[in-house]
Symmetry: C2
Subunit: 394 residues, 2 copies
């Protein structure tokens, strides 16, 4: 199979990648895909641009290619969520989905629930719709539903307006890497139903699992109150700019009206359908799991070896390590010093919708090679030591 040879090539590429030069920046900041696992979509594109040319180069339909909606429905069935194709609309990636849902659901002055920390790219989208934030803590079981319950009870007691929705990334949370436990998911669903608050389940990393068994999707536990945001960015490749939203047909009818872009690209939709039909996705997911699992192992080992003073919860999947700095150490400053030392990371403070906590950083292990990971963690350790010695001198 051409595809498995591609996966082998990915491993080969990563093994033979030269050692990064001293002045070459090492990217731990982005959630970009590792170049070696980008799939071979040429056969799917050839089909899409020959047999399906009259479909792929013409205007598409706003809800999305029917066969892709069917495929997504089947995929969700495989994940335990029964979602008919009519309850799926194709969008231009998860961020476009979040944007459309904000347009649909938010009015000026509305509040929403997010975790602290939360997915940082969603924060400016929420803010652009004038949303205020109710932040809820997380621990190793994910969103703290007891805290959320207390917050909602207080709002009810005080006769105040309840939040419009609860936004969460339950699988391999960005940035923390935590997967919400089943009992927390059940508690969340119970709270959502009791207070009639929608849940926005954003789950891009669900299949990027290196070990252990998946928890049920929130959508599988409560189809009615959960709106699911999905994407092919992490399933296949970010460059496709294709995702989906699954909600009630009523909500979707209004989202389709809001899709003034005239329908997502029929060409990339057809490429996805043909790639998946040809069995490309399963092989690709295996390659992704193997590669990123190995990257994670590399980064965890490097951090333990070179940055033993940082604490972390080792994620079972996803793209990121969320690292806690020693008491009083500033993640923003470390980020600046790391950049000077040739490794780009993200300050944890970026991931808070409200008051930022300053003693965290996020490292992505997705994009860099294992060799770059070793080198980059070394540079980060150097940057951290330089801070420690400066503060020791002060």
């Amino acid at each position: 199979m051409e595809r498995s040879s591609l996966a082998q090539r990915a491993v080969h590429l990563s093994a033979t990648m030269p050692r990064p030069g001293a002045h070459e920046g090492i990217p731990f900041d982005s959630g970009h895909a590792f170049p070696g696992v980008l799939p071979d979509l040429r056969a799917a594109a050839e089909l899409a641009l020959s047999e399906y040319r009259a479909e792929t180069l013409q205007y598409g339909v706003r809800p999305g290619l029917p066969e892709l909606r069917e495929w997504i429905s089947g995929y969700l069935h495989g994940e335990g969520a029964e979602v008919p194709a009519e309850e799926v609309v194709v969008v231009n990636g998860a961020k476009h989905g979040i944007d459309l849902l904000c347009r649909l659901l938010l009015d000026e002055g509305d509040s929403i629930v997010v975790t602290a920390p939360t997915y940082f790219t969603a924060i400016p989208i929420f803010k652009s719709f004038g949303a205020s934030f109710i932040e809820v803590s997380q621990d190793e079981e994910g969103l703290d539903t007891s805290e959320l319950e207390a917050v909602l009870a207080r709002l009810v007691r005080e006769g105040r307006r309840l939040p419009k929705f609860i936004y969460n990334v339950p699988d391999f949370h960005n940035p923390t890497g935590v997967t919400m436990s089943r009992r927390r998911r059940e508690a969340l669903v119970e709270l959502s139903a009791r207070h009639r608050i929608l849940i926005l389940e954003d789950s891009p990393y669900r299949k990027v699992r290196f070990e252990g068994a998946p928890e049920p999707m929130i959508k599988a536990l409560d189809r009615a109150n959960t709106i699911l945001i999905g994407t092919f960015a992490k399933l296949i490749a970010p460059g496709l700019r294709i995702g989906w939203v699954s909600a009630s047909t009523d909500a979707l009818a209004r989202i389709i009206q809001l899709k003034s872009d005239g329908g997502s690209c029929p060409l990339t939709q057809r490429i996805i359908v043909e790639f998946c039909r040809a069995g490309g996705l399963d092989a690709h997911i295996q390659s992704v799991q193997r590669t990123y699992g190995s990257h994670r192992d590399h980064m965890v080992a490097a951090v333990r070896r070179q940055l033993p003073e940082l604490s972390m919860t080792v994620p079972h999947g996803g793209y990121y390590l969320w690292l806690k700095l020693p008491e009083g150490m500033d993640g923003d400053e470390l980020t600046t010093r790391a950049a000077d030392a040739g490794v780009t990371i993200l300050a944890g403070s970026k991931f808070f919708a409200g008051q930022p906590q300053k003693n965290y950083i996020r490292l992505a292990y997705s994009h860099a090679t294992p060799v770059q990971i070793d080198e980059g963690v070394g540079r980060l350790a150097g940057a951290l030591r330089s801070m420690a010695s400066t503060s020791a001198r002060a």
Copy 2:
């Protein structure tokens, strides 16, 4: 060249297309492309998905692929508009461009200037931002700038708020097919500068010209006050969902922030760049001009032969015929009767942002074959006769 053989195939396809069955609907409603002129993008896609895989399947940059922005800048130079690549941002088609510009420019209660009639798909986008409309007439020279001048002078006299922008399709206007004359363009630019009102120049059909010489782009006459909306939908193919906006770098910086979708699809952008680089675009435009010119000739002849009571201005390009019905005849009713007779058209009333004029219809000659055009105009004539005989009996 493979491309010219494709163009030949298009002609061949259209010549051998079977006569439409009595129950087969004939589509004069949509601005879809004729299937026979959809280009062969396979070589460009093969390159994009092999040599450029690490770019095309990765996250792109929000302003768009630098080489595509450069290409657009060069294309506009060829059209007489000097627009540096920094003043071009890639978007997901022209409608996405309009949507982003509304987000950027419109506040609740703002008014905008549109022609009566205007591009009907833009109307709900404008309305969704709460815009009110100042409608200005058109004649065979396009937007009536004397009328606009009088309207603006009255607003100034009355101390009222001026419109935020003037939206227009100056080349082969949708739906009227009219191209704005040079002196009107100059008068529009003068009014825009005098009153400091932006012009939104939406020009998808500019290259779909069958005869005569182009008028200067409004952007070429006044780069500072004109925002240009472009698209590859009519230049290459609608399914690509790639267009552009050209404005000042300040405005573009804010548009890029509003592009929460995370950047337009890098794969389709690269396909466009490679298709154009390989010289595919020039051959394709020739094929488009030849094919749609022949479709127009067919439809104009069929209308003159079978519907002599309808009046029209024959367009020199674009996709549409705008037909005026005899006094007192209702275009909405004719549209319904035409659909019953197996030909779908659009009622002219859809194209008015304010009070609709009822005695117009729009026929697209782009999508149907010449054989379908003859048959469809015949069906339309039958529908019109049935209305005339009903009203004669009444």
